[in-house]
Subunit: 389 residues, 2 copies
Amino acid sequence: MKVGYHPTRSKRSLLAGCLFGLCTVAFGQPPRGPLVVSPQVNTDKSVTFRYLAPKATDVKLSAQFEKGLLAMTKDAQGIWSVTTPPVKPDIYPYSFQVDGVTVMDPANVAFFPNERFKASLVDIPGDTPLIHSLQDVPHGSVNYEYYPSVAGTTGSLVVYTPPGYDKNLVKYPVFYLISGTTDTEETFFKVGRTNLILDNLIAAGRAKPMIVVMPYGNIEARITEQKGGAKPTDPTVRDGADAVKRANDFGEDLTRNVIPYIEGNYRTITNEESRAIGGFSRGGGQTLRTAFSNMDKFAWVCSYSSYLSPQEMNGSFSQIGGNPDRTNKQLKLLWVSVGSDDFLYKGTVEFMDYMKAKKVAYKSLVTDGGHTWMNVKTYVADTVPLLFR
Amino acid sequence: MKVGYHPTRSKRSLLAGCLFGLCTVAFGQPPRGPLVVSPQVNTDKSVTFRYLAPKATDVKLSAQFEKGLLAMTKDAQGIWSVTTPPVKPDIYPYSFQVDGVTVMDPANVAFFPNERFKASLVDIPGDTPLIHSLQDVPHGSVNYEYYPSVAGTTGSLVVYTPPGYDKNLVKYPVFYLISGTTDTEETFFKVGRTNLILDNLIAAGRAKPMIVVMPYGNIEARITEQKGGAKPTDPTVRDGADAVKRANDFGEDLTRNVIPYIEGNYRTITNEESRAIGGFSRGGGQTLRTAFSNMDKFAWVCSYSSYLSPQEMNGSFSQIGGNPDRTNKQLKLLWVSVGSDDFLYKGTVEFMDYMKAKKVAYKSLVTDGGHTWMNVKTYVADTVPLLFR
């Protein structure tokens, strides 16, 4: 087990590698069977997926562009493969079901950071570059940072700085962007490609240069990890008291620790009109609760595939609908978006109806599709141009 | 498939989550069965690993602190688990073998970035903090960057900047640090914890503040990915001509593209005495070849678990041993390290013997253990204090 996960080493390959005096440093890892190329996006936008498993009896593809599983077939080398029909350009999570076991694609480095499942990512390019594609434009930088967080823990942040940040010694507005339940602080970067969306929008003159701060939404997991103690409760299974505490904990960490850290260490404009907050799913709920509890701190609020119920609005945030003139003056943007197939669609429409009845101004976007990161990218690309105007 | 990888949603949990008016935003992802906590490091440094698979018939743990596989047992919920004996504090790669299929731990966000296998990471803390542990010291930042690379491609880099980089507007020396075959530009950060090693050494006054640049070693894969074309050849299976071309391609990209990008965009000291180069495995070979081909660019050279053969030294780099006085004057440090169980041990000893016979000065460290990232962390922690002195 010392040299990785395939303890057998091919003598033939070692010898082949020793030709021309170039031995051994070529063998940082021992050979791992035939080279598997996966995924391979074909020119017609079909995709060939491959998985090496000579001994498996059943391998299927599970991909978010397909409603069901796709069967794969095995070749003489033991490589299972399937070629899909042409796929609509976007980035999709996928995994393999190998004799019923869910696995990431071992041949693909693009992955979905998440606390509870593991998936790979396939990027189908458009005929013209999509808003999240790597293009030949100036690039910002994505910075992994530590900050002093709650309960003596060290928190982690992913921070996008726009192109030229280190050279143009000016101050920038900040968008705080929170990912969903079981996502991590890396998900908006690795899956949402927020950095590339910002690069492309800024290059096209469609967005103001800004800093984007991506925190980790699961305060409780961080405390358990760093300080030990009780087994964490399941972030996806709630009781009411826990959910209230968690939402408050997150909002307090953001306002008391994250914002002071960012404003102390990055060149930022530090008034509410230069702070936006947004989030997906649980992060959207954290967004709405944090914004409505801190109306002096954020003038731009974006809720992606999430909402608060009329009961919670009336119970905890009655001033929002109760004084719509003040709310509309304080908020430069309240954005609500959801997919028509999202399992949160009905509640989100109810949230919009609530705001409408209370005469609170909001902008909304209802797309096709469900509770997916394909939709999140659309929502980010549609809202970022509106911020800080 | 719209809301993740577990299409069934628990009605009971949905109802439980709707208490106290906190519905639905709690359900960014639907419930995924019982919460699995894995890995769980116990106070005696034993570790409990868990994997949810009610239908699996055989689940085993494959971990780099164990020579063989450890059997796991299933509980009534379908969670397989095993508790190991106490483990020597360090960070170890591991995975599960589920009915013979290798899978990452879905409950663990710490992963091993690699082109060809997927593994999770378990961190066993020491009684006092280890050199790679997250400690309460000033932290540097880890920056993901794009740069214009070979053949019109956009290259990716991970760049560590030391604590205070943005505030102390001074210039820093740079350590270029290259990971192994099938590793990515993330591996020295995510597996090697190079940022934390630097933070801790700098805080203790044991290392000079420096920038560490971690490039991606597989130029050919980048070109294939971005420009299409021929199926890439297997990076772990070499013929001589390919290996020579690849080594040259990497060295040229580093010297012509990476270094100018870093020196144009970071505050760096731009002479050879302020540039170090190091690498593990294939990255160590790339280090030696690039350094010996560019003796005017790097004065500090660190080879971790790698070497060049006497034949290649005599054939391509005869000036190194041929004029040891000049070599010893040019190189402030030539470091060679390897584990006694490393499959490259013999060749590395031969490389040291070659240098000794040629009267080329070098420092060396032979440790226990094999070709592992546990050893890489030791080598980085031992060499960084020597640099730029």
